[in-house]
Amino acid sequence: MASLEKKVISAAIISLIIGIGIGYAIAYYTIPRPKPVVTLTVIGPWSGVEMEYFMKVLKAYEREHPNIKIKYIAIRAEDLAAIAPPQFAAGKTPGDVLITPWGWWVASMGEKGHLVDLSELVDKEEFVPGIFDPVTRNDKVYGLPFTAWAKPGFWHRKSFFEKYGLKVPETWEEFKSLLKKIKEEIGITPIASGDGVGWPLSDTSEHFIITFGGPELQLKLIKGEVKWTDPEVRKIFEEYLVPLLKAGYFSEPKDWTAQVDLWWKGKYALYFMGTWITGMVPDPGDLGVFTLPGCKGIVMGTDYISVSKYTPNLEEALKLARWLATEGQRIHVGTKAGKFATWLKVELEEHWEPMRPVYKALMTGEVAVVPDLDDAVGGKWQTTFWDQLKLLWTNPDKLDEVLSTLQRVYEEQAKGK
């Protein structure tokens, strides 16, 4: 009997083990397992409040894709252009998805074989016309556009203008009178000059070029069809910008974010800046903006999303890049980032309210859209442009030296020196 009992127990145990094994095998092959969590590193140019708005976009993606965790690293365009190429050369990448406003850099890295061709990832017809041009080489697209900004003109506080009885100028003479009044009657420097790495001064200069030389002159300067020493270019600086600098209507160049605060507090009356300024002030409703009288074009730019071919998470990175360029834009334009969509499926109403008039003006063709000059040329010339403008700002008499240096460096860069 005892022997029979043992046999029964043994048989039961064996059956149990076999049953568990079969059950596990069935479960293993039939029950869907959760995907392993992949952490993607996204590198972008935003920090501070700008980063907060972008993080809302990334958080939304994480909610939609539970198996994806995103680590965001803020690296400025000039720093990314410094650290990424040596890593690319060694077959590595600092991030899975790279975002930078420098289209020239994306195209250059793509041409050298470091970035993935994204031509088939989105339908280019669904985006703002021409937006892919800076990142396209040999019919290959190395960057997808994210949200865009514009540099519409001189920002001012409506309450400040009301307080001192100032009017938005409609002619060049009125503009000069406005500056004179601000300086002599109110007793402050009329226009804040932003600095940092130098781009704010280039934005201001480009606005003068577009106003007095037309949008086509800016395009010709980008392509090198007109020299910087050309009388037409020199005249714009000599007759319009330099006299204002000599009259002390522009402040000394100082850190551009610090200038936002000073300008808002009334140390300056005007500030030439991009649309992102709307997200940096306490009361966007108090903001007004005007172009130089007669201006027929506005500089527009975007941040480009690219994927390095050295990423270990290529599939996930491409999915994120496509999402950022499309649905991600809906979220970003709804924040106070001061941006508008380049993906045409985003409706006007989805934009943050203060951005709608600018977006409408650009989309309806009221003004010509012009690419950013220094971002389009790039390379050594870009930083030279910034640095030379700092020189011009404090030494307007050095105009000829500045223009000839810009032309020399442009030619050197074009020859690949």
């Binding site: 000039e78 252009a81 410094a82 790495v197 000394e252 020189l391 700002w393 030494n395």
Partner: protein, 302 residues
């Protein structure tokens, strides 16, 4: 020496030699060869041209390196190498003399250690912070230097020094003197402490004035310290980078560009690695005689 001794000594030497070869000798040789368009780094393509001296020609004839127009008109920019030389010409005597005088002055002052610590602060703080402090000190709105000139009625210097080509380099040099003086004060203070007191007391009993004691006793006896201060200062100035990068980025218009920043520019802004390696090699060639002389002096035990 038997095999056991050899193995024992080798076990101490080999790890250090391996590290030095991997992290010092190999990168140095690779950098020098890179400047001639020879790539020693496997799997990385950094060279575009063929083996030649073209990088040296490019660098030495570039306006960023030497600007003939600036030199002719005595206006900035004069070129990175000239800016480095100007920096040495002002900085070296200033820190050496200032360090010596402060050390002598503080020698017998009550509470001098506190003052010495304050002077040494410039050496303790990170250079990036020091550079920001320089930028603030020379800022028109909040800086002490422009404010002093305003009080003195010299309004031409009541401006943001780092924004103007005629004052940008000078502001950085003055700032670097402030940062570096702590180093020379500390070395001279240590040197002074090692001078036998009897020598100075004997001179005093003989009626020697302070000037004579300083020039005939203190300075000659501090010669080894002075050699170290001079060598280290020249090396520091030739390598100067962070102050310029943070405060002016070499501008405006290249007016404060220096060799190390030019090297960085070629590397980071233009991704011209061979040109960057060329500047690095040139810097090494310039620095090397100073280092050799200093080492020879130090090893002679003088």
């Amino acid at each position: 020496m038997n095999l056991k001794d050899v193995l024992e000594k080798a076990s101490f030497l080999i790890p250090a030699l391996l590290l030095i070869f991997t992290f010092v000798i190999y990168p140095t040789i690779a950098t020098i060869l890179l400047s001639f368009n020879i790539n020693l780094i496997p799997g990385v393509n950094l060279v575009e041209g063929s083996t030649s001296l073209e990088n040296y020609v490019k660098v030495l004839t570039s306006e960023e390196f030497i600007n003939p127009t600036g030199l002719r008109t005595s206006s900035f920019p004069m070129g990175a190498i000239v800016h480095n030389v100007i920096w040495i010409l002002i900085h070296l005597p200033a820190t050496t003399i200032l360090g010596l005088l402060l050390a002598v002055f503080l020698q017998n002052i009550k509470g001098s250690s506190i003052i010495r610590s304050m002077i040494f602060l410039g050496m303790v703080i990170p250079m990036v912070v020091g550079a920001l402090m320089i930028a603030f000190s020379f800022n028109k709105d909040m800086g002490i230097v422009p404010s002093i000139f305003k009080c003195l009625g010299i309004l031409s210097l009541y401006k943001t020094w780092t924004s103007y080509p005629d004052t940008a380099l000078l502001s950085l040099i003055i700032g670097s003197i402030w940062l570096w003086t702590g180093f020379s004060v500390t070395l001279y203070s240590a040197g002074l402490a090692s001078i036998p007191k009897e020598l100075i007391e004997a001179a005093k009993i003989d009626g020697a004035p302070f000037r004579v004691i300083l020039f005939k006793i203190i300075i000659p006896l501090l010669r080894p310290v002075t050699v170290t201060v001079v060598a280290m200062t020249i090396l520091w100035v030739l390598k100067i980078f962070d102050i310029v990068y943070v405060a002016t980025r070499g501008g405006p218009g290249g007016a404060s560009m220096v060799m190390a920043l030019l090297m960085w520019d070629y590397f980071a802004r233009m991704n011209a690695y061979t040109l960057s390696a060329t500047i690095a090699t040139l810097l090494t060639i310039i620095v090397l005689p100073v280092v050799i002389l200093w080492i020879r002096y130090a090893t002679r035990g003088e």
